[in-house]
């Protein structure tokens, strides 16, 4: 997608990194259209969102691993009420929670591209779509999802 084709209007809050040392690799990966999640170097557990240690074995050897940008819809919602001024006149929109079977079923929040009134089925296969915000300071990229074809 280009800057001119953002799913939600300009002016929504940008992501801020509360713990840059922990979180930056994911956002840098998204800039390069690579989907990164954490995997434990000690016990191979997948983990998302970013955390300093593995919740299973408590190792601090968390490694960023590129995963296939494919998943399936675990849950979703259609948002009608504009909870932020810039959303007025831009609802409804769809948000999805996507699980990544190839990465231990970790889940990510994104928007589901396409008709906001489309019928959404839990379990549908989806693929990632990168939305670049090049004019933001600093620039960032959001990971959206669209229904996989065929």
């Amino acid at each position: 997608m280009t800057d001119a084709a953002h799913y939600l209007p300009e002016g929504l809050p940008a992501p801020a990194l509360a713990e840059p040392e922990l979180e930056a690799p994911y956002w840098e990966g998204a800039r390069e259209e690579r989907l990164l999640v954490q995997r434990c170097g000690a016990c191979a557990t997948w983990q998302w969102g970013p955390e300093w240690i593995c919740h299973k074995c408590l190792s601090s050897d968390m490694r960023w691993t590129e995963v296939a940008p494919r998943g399936r819809i675990y849950s979703y919602e259609r948002v009608w009420h504009p909870a932020h001024p810039v959303l007025k006149g831009h609802t409804p929109f769809l948000a999805v929670l996507v699980e990544l079977p190839e990465a231990g079923n970790v889940r990510m929040i994104g928007n589901l591209l396409g008709d906001p009134l489309q019928d959404v089925q839990i379990g549908s296969e989806v693929v990632a779509d990168y939305e670049h915000h090049n004019d933001a300071t600093p620039p960032y990229t959001l990971v959206h999802w669209r229904i996989a074809q065929g």
Binding site: A14, W48, S75, E77, R78, W80, P85, R107, M108, I109
Partner: protein
């Protein structure tokens, strides 16, 4: 814990629509505390402890000074949001049992002013922490965070949207009997519910709590001290707080996702109190949104998930004759949004026999605080026959 303490007094301010209170948050809270002391028949100077939750802005030391209490011995704040009302009462009870204090007031006051509305996203340039992974996708408020859990739960168990409507209509039904309720005189029909606007599907407008300027307080003392006071004691039979394994794993990665967070807390509550869900006569369950109530009651064992479509019908949820009369004051949806404190007051009224929608002979009342958040908390209240 069982039966060793009791709620001996309850008090509330007038319930105002959001943004319309003529009084400050502190003054409303003070009024609620004084009303609770009056209700109990105790001298406010004898209060010696305070407990609250969700970063309540009323400082207990200022309260102690304003009330001229003899000595402040206990001041306690529970983490989290709406999940803390029952826990604040439990913390007060624990302090009394441990001998840290003898007369503890639990309070919560809300006047929405300079800090903005709960229902709006904050208009700041960037969101950090978990919000960094949610807000840029338009998810900025509680209903947008939590509806995702409700949708998953309803999908897993095949629960129809009618269950949510029944929960909402039960609250509005009870509010019509309660002159204090903000929605008193504004009955809700099925048609009006269905025609109301969507907030976040499957939640309509009437599935969402109100926002109000209001305050409430309850006073906790030992069971022994309670015997000599004005009101019939509402004994604390059990209390539990917490949440299940990794409930708040970052960015919606809780293993048990379709959950109100009570799957481990509920069983601990009933085990401690020595009662079962079938013994409960009336339930007061915090509603941020009706979907949370649905999940909460199922996780507490009031009905099995596969029974939900039959259980969550209006006739089952209303006093005096329903299987489990629910939110009999109108609750957060239709009485006032006192952040769940209204539910505790109403649980006490049911035990006293003074509710405007009284369940005949009610001896055990369930109070649940804060579905879907973490930590959450519960109380079971009982009358003298339950000890």
């Amino acid at each position: 814990m069982r039966g060793r303490t009791a709620i001996v007094g309850i008090g509330a301010s007038t319930f105002h629509k959001r943004g319309t209170s003529p009084d400050s948050e502190f003054k409303l809270t003070l009024k609620a505390v004084l009303a609770a002391a009056e209700d109990a028949g105790i001298d406010p100077h004898k209060i010696d402890g305070f407990a609250s939750f969700n970063f309540d802005r009323t400082d207990p030391s200022r309260m102690a000074a304003a009330l001229g209490i003899d000595e402040l011995r206990f001041a306690n704040l529970f983490w989290g949001g709406g999940g803390g009302g029952a826990a604040a009462v439990a913390n007060a009870a624990a302090a009394v049992i441990a001998g840290l204090a003898s007369c503890v007031v639990v309070y919560r006051g809300i006047v929405q002013g300079p800090d903005g509305r709960y229902g709006d996203g904050r208009t700041i340039g960037a969101y950090g922490r978990d919000a960094a992974y949610l807000a840029p996708y338009g998810l900025m408020t509680p209903i947008q965070w939590y509806t995702m859990r409700v949708v998953r739960f309803m999908h897993e168990h095949g629960i129809a949207r009618d269950a949510l409507r029944a929960i909402s209509m039960a609250s509005y039904h009870h509010a019509q009997a309660n002159p204090r309720a903000v929605m008193h005189g504004r009955p809700l029909t099925e048609q009006a519910y269905e025609e109301s606007r969507w907030i976040v599907e499957p939640h309509h407008l009437f599935d969402c709590c109100m926002e109000n300027d209001c305050a409430a307080a309850v006073i906790v003392m030992s069971a022994e001290a309670a015997k000599d006071l004005k009101q019939k004691p509402a004994y604390i039979l059990g209390a539990a707080q917490g949440s299940e394994y990794r409930n708040q794993a970052r960015v919606h990665n809780a293993p048990r996702y379709g959950s109100a967070s009570f799957s481990s807390v509920g069983p601990r509550l009933f085990a401690e109190a020595g009662v079962t869900p079938a013994d409960v006569d009336v339930a007061q369950t915090y509603e941020n949104f009706t979907g949370g109530v649905l999940m909460s009651l199922i996780e507490h064992g009031f009905c099995a998930p596969e029974e939900a479509n039959d259980f969550f019908k209006l006739e089952n949820l209303i006093a005096p004759s329903g299987r489990l009369p629910l939110n009999t004051s109108g609750g957060n949806l239709a009485e006032a949004y006192v952040h769940g404190m209204g539910h505790i007051l109403e649980g006490v009224r049911q035990i006293r026999g003074t509710s405007t929608s009284q369940v005949p002979g009610a001896s055990i009342a369930f109070v649940g605080s804060g579905p879907m958040v973490s930590p959450v908390s519960d109380l079971l209240l009982g009358n003298g026959n339950t000890l």
